[in-house]
């Protein structure tokens, strides 16, 4: 076990009194004070996140689009410069190696954002799948810090600090290069909270001034620093999967309800096509469902779900929902006919009633 890496914002987190946690080989802020308050601040105003642990992998060269079309399940060569796409990288058997956001920085360069725990796997798979193409794959994680400002007040907080960026005109899942607080940055309208918001990719040495400027500008608007605990409950309310919980090598995109990311109609071959096509034709054997829990207790990852008392699935993620005021969970359920049956979750020996509900649990007002 090696010593966890620190982000360029480590000293800022310590000064803010954050509770730090070891996460995917990094020391990250879990919470600064109350995760519930941080969660609600993001829903009502804004939150500031250090996401510098995320992996950034550059795929550059004339053949970069072709590499990604072959390596990923999406149609990335069709992505226009300045746009982003949510996609996945799968194994030959269709299992998910990671879920990704891919930005097309310009005609010949893509930036692939991987989960911190999967950066090495994704980098190695991309490098392997790029062989024979005119493209270079580089793990650029050390070249970037990532600061996210998320919430309804995010655009108003970022705009006065942004140079050369048209934030008003920036669409969801688009990005531009410009500056934030005078520091060069790639700014994208993306996030993992279910709110409007921006992700600011800057050089590691610029992370502290970028963070400080956003914190100072956002304070009066109600922005607070927010840790990984709030990020997890925010993404869960928004029905977004977390790798290791809803996604993994034994899950295909179809079971996770994300079959739409697999683009069978794109030109050319891609890794996993055959297995994924078979899975698409046969239909998933289990499906990801949303549950609300009839107790204060939390249905956590790995807890059993029962239908009329018989095992019918497993909880993948669970947490209190600060927005709904009840605990919520996502779970893989074996069959589609659980609607008519009485569902319970086994919470440490106690059968607690659960209610099927549509995902996402929370959708922001447009």
């Amino acid at each position: 076990m090696t010593t966890p890496r620190q982000t360029p914002l480590h000293e800022v987190h310590e000064r803010l009194g954050a509770t730090m946690t070891s996460f995917a080989g990094w020391q990250m802020p879990l919470r600064y004070a109350s995760e519930t308050s941080e969660h609600l601040a993001v829903r009502r105003a804004a939150g500031l996140f250090d996401l510098s642990h995320m992996g950034e992998i550059s795929v550059a060269g004339p053949g970069a689009g072709a590499v990604l079309d072959y390596a990923l399940v999406g149609n990335l060569s069709a992505l226009r410069p300045g746009r982003a796409r949510y996609t996945m990288i799968c194994a030959e058997d269709g299992g998910v190696l990671d879920d990704l956001v891919v930005y097309r920085l310009d005609a010949d360069e893509f930036l692939v954002i991987a989960n911190a725990a999967n950066t090495d796997v994704v980098y190695e798979a991309l490098a392997d799948r790029a062989r024979g193409h005119d493209a270079r794959v580089t793990d650029a994680t050390g070249d970037y810090a990532l600061v996210a400002v998320q919430g309804p007040a995010a655009a108003g907080i970022l705009a006065p600090l942004a140079g050369g960026l048209d934030l008003d005109g920036m669409k969801y899942y688009a990005g531009e290069s410009g500056s934030v607080a005078g520091r060069r940055a790639w700014v994208a309208r993306t996030g993992y909270t279910g709110e409007d918001g921006f992700e600011v990719f800057c050089r590691p040495e610029d992370a502290v001034p970028v963070w400080e400027a956003l914190a100072a500008a956002g304070g009066p608007a109600g922005l607070v620093p927010a840790g990984l605990a709030a990020r997890d409950t925010l993404r869960l309310e928004a029905g977004m999967p977390l790798y290791g919980n809803e996604l993994g090598p034994d899950v295909t995109p179809f079971e996770a309800g994300l079959g739409r990311v697999v683009k069978f109609d794109k030109p050319g071959e891609f890794v996993g096509r055959e297995a994924l096509a078979a899975r698409a034709a046969s239909g998933p054997v289990r499906r990801l469902a949303g549950l609300t829990i009839g107790s204060r207790r939390i249905a956590r990852h790995g807890y059993p779900v029962l239908a009329d008392g018989s095992p019918c699935g497993t909880v993948t993620s669970g947490a209190p929902s600060p927005t709904l005021g009840v605990p919520i969970a996502m779970a893989f359920l074996d069959s589609a006919d659980s609607e008519d049956r009485v569902l319970t979750v086994g919470i440490r020996g106690e059968a607690v009633p659960a209610q099927l509900t549509d995902l996402p649990f929370y959708r922001r007002r447009q």
Partner: protein
Amino acid sequence: MSVPAELHYTPEHEWVSLDGATASIGITEYAAQQLGDVVYVSLPAVGSAVTAGEPCGEVESVKSVSDLYSPVDGEVTEVNAELEDDPSLVNADPYTGGWMFRVRVPQDGDGQPALPADMLSAAEYEELTKSAG
């Protein structure tokens, strides 16, 4: 971090306040901060016997579930029913409004309430939390 001088502590981060033969028990501010926002507390039944060092309930926070250990031997006389509706009292007010349960403790040969010998003073407990980082 607040560690009131008049209380007794355990390495499992419980505090004990003695009033005659009645021990009031809760978890420390340090423990509450480590757990994060508490969302559910399961307490022993009134009238049940608890044993020092043995689990007698659970404290559930957003991120984790932890056993609650009884710091003393004795019979549970009262539990804090307010925690059922507002478990966040454990975070907001760990030493007063966030108390968890009360135990009538046996007396020693001198008629004094008998606390386990390995309980920590405030200074000792503070040292423990500092060395834990």
